[in-house]
Symmetry: C2
Subunit: 464 residues, 2 copies
């Protein structure tokens, strides 16, 4: 994508490559956003980067590292003194820090972990203890927490104290003396409160939260709906472990959609540009092998109708048309159903309505396209294949009716199969694709050749 | 989706339906998150909702309305006094307010707009002046702004004053006396600054920004990368017009992916559960008609090979297998390419690498599947169709080679076509689907029947 937002790279490069004093250069660089500085890093030589590590303070460097992709960040850490590296890591958001550490070579990783601030080390180990698909693996411990017995004034000074070390300050979390989650205060409310107001009145005690062990896919939509800057994550004893920030939610939404998108196209997971050939093959082969197997099933069903084709070779030409259209309609219904299932929890009645609506769409679209192909294909056969008008329109009538039926059934199949998979707790996006293709192919083949056999051969007694 | 996060609906309903005094009820309801209160609203009777409008203060109601979907919100506004409605609207985020107003019936809308606070009215009109795909249509004017000549102390009191009316306080925007955008201060920095620090040192002057007239699709990836709570939106004179919040960015990312997902499945845009039949048909028909037309082209090419099929009816059975596999491989390459194009700006060299990689994957997977189908299909024909071993493996050899070639070519087509569309500035997700299906179908048909004719009929002189 083109850079539409102001591109600061050139300016930043110029500053870094100039000969100004470290103090001046540091001051100038602080005027830029960390994301823009991070974008420039790969374009620098190792020497230039080392200059930056000396000039910028730890806070700024840790922010830059949060915007750097993990592999690059791990590489940069290797370029600097190990103590400096540990100091930078200690200041990062815990989830980002854990991601970077995963890319660092093993012995070095151990050294770095030993050098982290003890509190940070504990947090990293805790976050690493969660599975990749548990929400706990995506949280950060970088938040403000106060106890519930403070006054507004005490709360404010506690905030100022903690703000120096923690970035996510817009929501302040409140815990009881036993460290149980009690509620949250919007920073805005705290700022406009008078000093003698009761803190109690500011706390939202039924603030939304998630448990660290919850599955990401199952709570991401809910988290998105709250559109809060941070949502607290609790352990099973209701103690506050960390927070999920809106930046993490954006990433998670993006990942979730990306994966579903990939699955719809027959990949087991999303691919990356830099991924080695073998990895990419592994993501694609499973589906292709399943699809090949299912394709063979379809082929052997087509084989049953070999005699129909021998008697009437012309109908074979339009097989691909019927099969493709059934597949297209099925995929449309599948995509709509998966998206609806992703966003909403449907009642049984709504599910029936969805199936009913999809079938009506299939019927209407199928009717329109059926008439269209009846008219056009009949004309085509009459003009280009040198058949009689009756023969031409008998064949195209058969195609039109087969198209209508195939599209109607495919819509129903494309809706019911994902609903069924969802019901038995299998991800509909993974499971539905190949099954729908095959079922639709079979339906289309049987409808088409069955109709041709019955109508053209048995009733009209036409032959090639 | 099941509600995984704590479901507060029942508790809230119970409170509203209890007979406690308004003051106590108001106090209790304030302990809940506005999103949870918004979820309860449709479950209430009109009388119960009217009770709420009296009990809750304007601030809280406006927050609840921000979490309510626009159509419901418009309905609720009808249930209350028009002055109260205008007061609630005046407090909402400007983008949400504009969305709700669009759903209100025309004459009522006029009255409401007249009753809005003058400043809010001006903002709404400004936001309405932008196109739906311009970033200006998604901004809010609910932010904190100060001029660049203040001290830290003055800045802090200006913040406290503005915070009462504005929700997005985590970034404070700085403008010059001429109202030009100057930079931004992280609230955290301001809070931990000492009163005698220079405000100048806190300002990031090269803070990212967008122009209101920029196209959403073209800057959304960039905005996402900054993971800021709010990004300033400027007019063409570099004056600050509003901000894009992270909640809006989440919505935009979700919309963008949803649309691409829909397009991959052959829909012109994402569909909604509540949408009328006609709307849904309109989103699906265009592609289906195009696909039908292209399907006819493929059918007439198959027609050329009618004689081959008449001589060797068995090869017809496996046509669907080859076509489906070519289609599947092409869709995989297409999906990977579109996602890569969405996230990154590729150099010419990287594009060549991508095509080269996809072709190698196509070759490797095609080789594996070709060998597999050579072995299995040969055995199948020998055992179930009563042909000689030579004949069986000659046919399956032909199928294996055709599969390999079709998969190789489909990978290349599935990568090159979206790259080409991107180059000529057409959305690759819209344009690539049907073209790739057709090109791959044609390639597969010609390869398969061509090979069969050449190898089986001409060289081996086999016939059915």
């Amino acid at each position: 994508m083109e850079k539409r937002v102001q591109d600061y790279s050139k300016e930043i490069l110029k500053i870094i490559r100039s000969n100004t004093s470290p103090a001046v250069m540091g001051g100038r660089l602080q005027d830029y956003h960390e994301n823009d500085l991070a974008d420039v890093m790969p374009k620098l030589t190792v020497q230039e980067r080392c200059k930056l590590y000396r000039i910028l303070d730890t806070d700024m460097l840790s922010d830059i590292f949060e915007y750097t992709d993990e592999e690059n960040a791990a590489e940069y850490l290797n370029e600097m003194d190990v103590r400096k590296a540990a100091a930078i890591l200690s200041r990062m958001e815990t989830d980002a820090l854990a991601d970077v550490l995963n890319k660092v070579e093993k012995t070095k990783k151990k050294i770095l972990i030993d050098l982290l601030e003890p509190e940070v080390r504990r947090d990293v180990e805790m976050i690493a203890s969660f599975d990749e698909d548990e929400i706990g693996s995506r949280m950060t411990t970088n938040y403000i927490v106060i106890t519930d017995k403070l006054t507004v004034k005490q709360a404010m000074s506690s905030l100022i104290e903690q703000a120096a070390k923690n970035d996510n300050i817009s929501t302040i979390f409140v815990v009881t003396e036993q460290q149980k989650f009690y509620g949250a205060i919007n920073l805005k409310e705290l700022i406009i409160a008078r000093r003698d107001d009761l803190l109690e009145n500011l706390v939202v005690t039924s603030y939304p939260y998630v448990y660290a062990e919850e599955n990401i896919d199952e709570c991401i939509e809910e988290l998105k709906d709250y559109s809060e800057d941070s949502i607290p994550v609790l352990d099973n004893d209701n103690q506050l472990l960390g927070v999920i920030t809106s930046a993490s939610i954006i990433d998670l939404v993006d990942d979730e959609m990306g994966d579903d998108y990939a699955k719809l196209a027959g990949l087991t997971a999303e691919e990356d540009l830099k991924e080695p050939l073998k990895e990419s093959m592994k993501k694609r082969l499973p589906w292709l092998i399943i699809l090949l197997g299912l394709g063979m099933v379809v082929s052997s069903v087509v084989g049953i109708f070999e005699k129909v084709v021998t008697a009437l070779p012309i109908i074979m030409c339009f097989q691909s048309l019927i099969l493709d259209m059934a597949g297209n309609v099925g995929t449309q219904s599948l995509a709509v159903t998966i998206r609806v299932l992703m966003d909403e929890s449907l009642t049984g009645k709504q599910k029936l309505e969805l199936v009913w609506k999809e079938m009506r769409i299939g019927l209407c679209n199928g009717g329109l396209l059926g008439i269209l192909s009846f008219a056009l294909i009949g004309l085509y056969i009459y003009l280009f294949k040198g058949k009689t008008l009756l023969f031409s329109y008998a064949v195209s009538g058969c195609i039109g009716v087969a198209l209508l039926l195939a599209m109607l059934i495919s819509s129903a199949v494309g809706t019911c199969i994902p609903l069924f998979f969802k019901k038995i707790n299998i991800d509909p996006a993974v499971a539905s694709g190949p099954l729908i293709t095959t079922v639709n192919d079979l339906v289309a083949v049987i409808t088409y050749y069955g109709l041709s056999w019955l109508f053209l051969l048995k009733m009209l007694n036409l032959a090639g």
